[in-house]
């Protein structure tokens, strides 16, 4: 038996061989991360196509659009697009790419682990997510089409079947089932992320030395673990109401187009809202927290300065995560809920603005006194800060029930959540992509195209979503398939037209990104250096792309925090986490793939 001092390094899993094991059913967190990212990439273009069709139909309803059998788009087709757009974007893009995509790839690397704690479970999580996407998209192709109840799927509309609308039959069932499968996949993923972060950190990687991206992924995973079970329960009950005659959410005595519904009694539609939003509010923090982590990471790296207030940033994210579970009622001020509970939810919601504000101050503090390098990823990180401010501030109106009385279910809400989720979180994904692409693929994304992509997108998204606030203030309700019903909308149609044109241009600009992404995979400038951005975390101490077990058998030891930039007296303006004090002092680095001169 070998003694401890002479133990041979045998890797936990040997390098996979064969195309299927390497790229399809891989247990390597890096491959799985890329798979999630590609799923998100497909989904975001699908989601954008749906919204483009929506925007065109709204302001040019006479146009015959593709994918609308029968010529002009019907209201139910519009609502189906709307429902699937929201669902696909929230779940298949914002809940996958930032967390399961980049988190899967970089969490183990950033903490000095060779893989996630449960690699097989990781693979299962991805393929389960993939199945859920297939099931959801299948809703488009069944008789009746996709459901029309919005991504929030409130019963009784979502519970009564086709008598309340097209798409509410098989389409709605597939939607619920797909979502339930997604819940299961997310729970599995959350378990992996939390366990890995708690148990597999390398020597020296204390909690307070973890990059803020790791903190963000950890907190996000905790939110997911606690929230998705609730959505799963809600889906189960809704399915029972639909198919087995229970009445959890559907009261009795209903009449739909003169037909009395006799097979339901006593249920509460508001119960669904409580269950859904108890999940739904943490969900939006799941969507944004990784982006906050990335923003902090990049702002520090490209200002060449430590993050301002590392501890405060951690506490702020923890507070946001915790408070995020207490505010769900602010989606329900008008629902018939007790007005006293409404007020309590309101105060909690106003409070959650505090840690968000602290993070914003700290981002500004990080930039202050910096030497800013304007890489494309940094541009997106800076854009994230601006968008987070805009989207977050509009929330202060909605958090007050007296004001929400008017703004609820208007375009004001659409503006708010798009700015914060549909744009700020997306900018987090873009920033991460431009930053980590060279590490993942050994090639750079083209910076020039990237910058054009940034400017068009940044100006574009503000052009789309800023005007929507005014539509809401003017009382324009949301989820309207047609603008000719309510008369007071007439004066707002020019604004809608402006928004549609801006959307057309902005969505078109994303093709630049797609082209850049696909082209650079094979033709991008090679990333021969391990650390082109002169960053400090462990990812930049290994080759691009990394070996299958990340550290080629040499797990690093960490000696300092993740944002040691501009350290007084240091030779360079950055000190990587894994350099020993001796290496820092002498400037001589021991050989091995983990360090570079």
């Amino acid at each position: 038996m070998a003694s401890h001092a002479e133990v041979v390094h045998v890797h936990v899993h040997t390098a996979p061989t064969g195309f299927i094991r390497k790229y399809v059913f891989s247990v390597d967190h890096k491959v799985i991360g890329i798979q999630y990212y590609l799923l998100a990439l497909f989904s975001v273009f699908l989601g954008m196509s749906l919204s483009l069709l929506m925007r065109i139909h709204l302001v040019w309803p006479a146009l015959h659009l593709p994918f609308t059998p029968g010529g002009q788009m019907t209201p139910e087709q519009y609502l189906a697009l709307l429902t699937m757009h929201g669902t696909i974007m929230v779940f298949m893009v914002l809940t996958t790419a930032p967390q399961s995509g980049f988190g899967n790839y970089f969490l183990p690397i950033q903490i000095g682990a060779e893989d996630m704690a449960f690699p097989v479970l990781n693979m299962l999580s991805f393929w389960t997510t993939f199945v859920s996407l297939l099931v959801m998209v299948a809703a488009f192709f069944v008789s009746g089409g996709a459901p029309i109840g919005g991504w929030t799927s409130y019963p009784p509309l979502s519970a009564l079947g086709e008598i309340v609308g097209p798409g509410q039959g098989a389409g709605q069932t597939l939607w619920i089932v797909g979502l339930a499968i997604f819940c299961a996949a997310s729970l599995l993923g959350a378990i992996n992320f939390i366990t890995t972060t708690i148990d597999l950190r390398c020597k020296g990687m204390t909690l307070m030395r973890m990059p803020l991206t790791v903190w963000a992924w950890l907190i996000t995973a905790v939110l997911g673990l606690l929230a998705f079970g609730v959505l799963l329960a809600a889906c189960a009950l809704l399915l029972l109401d639909r198919s087995l005659g229970t009445s959890f959410f559907v009261p009795g005595g209903l009449v739909v187009t003169d037909q009395v519904i006799t097979w339901h009694k006593g249920g509460s539609p508001i119960l669904w809202q409580h269950l859904f939003w108890f999940f739904g509010h943490p969900e939006v923090y799941i969507a944004i927290l990784p982006g906050m982590g990335v923003a902090s990471h990049l702002l520090s790296t490209f200002s060449r300065k430590p993050i301002f207030g590392y501890r405060a940033m951690v506490y702020a994210m923890l507070s946001i995560g915790f408070l995020g579970f207490t505010v769900w009622g602010h989606h329900m001020f008008i629902s018939g809920m007790s007005p006293y509970s409404a007020f309590a939810f309101s105060l909690l919601t106003m409070s959650i603005g505090v840690p968000s504000a602290i993070k914003t101050f700290n981002w500004l503090g990080t930039l202050w006194g910096g030497q800013i390098r304007f890489t494309t990823s940094m541009l997106f990180a800076l854009g994230f800060v601006s968008l987070f401010v805009s989207g977050g501030l509009s929330g202060l109106f909605l958090a007050q029930p007296a004001i929400d009385l008017y703004l609820h279910d208007t375009y004001y809400v659409v503006a708010h959540f798009h700015l914060i989720m549909g744009v700020a979180a997306i900018f987090g994904i873009f920033a991460a992509t431009y930053f980590w692409f060279p590490k993942m693929f050994g090639r750079f994304l083209n910076e020039r195209i990237g910058k054009v992509h940034f400017w068009l997108t940044f100006i574009g998204v503000y052009s789309i979503f800023m005007p929507m606030h005014f539509l809401g203030i003017a009382g324009h309700p949301r989820r309207y398939a047609d603008l000719t019903g309510v008369q007071y909308l007439n004066g707002l149609i020019p604004v809608q037209r402006f928004i549609s044109i801006a959307a057309f241009i902005t969505i078109g600009s994303q093709l630049l990104f797609l082209f850049n992404f696909l082209w650079s995979l094979w033709g991008g400038k090679k990333a021969t250096e391990m650390n082109p951005w002169e960053a400090t975390t462990l990812a930049w101490s290994i080759p691009s792309p990394p070996p299958f077990d990340n550290f080629a058998g040499h797990i690093p030891t960490v000696y300092r925090g993740p944002y040691e930039f501009a350290v007084p007296g240091a030779r360079q303006d950055y000190v990587p986490q894994q350099l020993t004090p001796a290496e820092v002092a002498t400037g001589e680095v021991s050989s091995g793939p983990t360090v570079k001169a």
Partner: protein, 217 residues
Amino acid sequence: MPGVVADEIELQIGANRGGDAPSRDGGGDGDRGDGQIPAYRRASVTGITLALGGILMFFLALTSSYIVRRGVTTDWQPVPLPRLLWANTAVLLASSVTIEMARRALRRGAEDAFRNLWALTSGLGVIFVAGQLLAWRELRAEGVFLATNPSSSFFYVLTGLHGLHLLGGVIALVYVALKSWQGSRVGQATGAEVAAIYWHFMDGLWVFLLLLLTLGR
């Protein structure tokens, strides 16, 4: 001469012990000679605990739905709980005892005792589920079905979902017993520990659900 023993692969995490950086946590605590890596053994226990957290939230959501639904409705009819449920509960509690005995037997190295007690636990688990199905049959015979009234809906939903999770537990027990643990990152003892934690939780969850159904009747 260092070599790799065929039956026990010794693995090290964080063995690159260069430098004098203090570390309060993180891996690298080496092999304890039982063929397992402490970090991964810890991870298995962390993992199952977290999984139980997720499952708990699932059942808490159903519990709060139960409480809310009971409060809003006028059509709540108490479900006559079959007496069989109490017998089933005894079976499940007994199985918690046997699984605990099995786990400790394995730790001691008493392989035969482990195998027998483990099989006994699985058997008790199957008996429990069968008993639940019998209880369902009793209720159906009395005309109480899933959609009869909200109280009965919750009865079937809660017992059904718990039963499904317990069946999953039985499958896990069989897996732990039959799997070849050679070449694995953790030993059978850890697998047994993980399964036992899950099992005890399902036991406790059942007691909680039974109390809920009884008191909330």
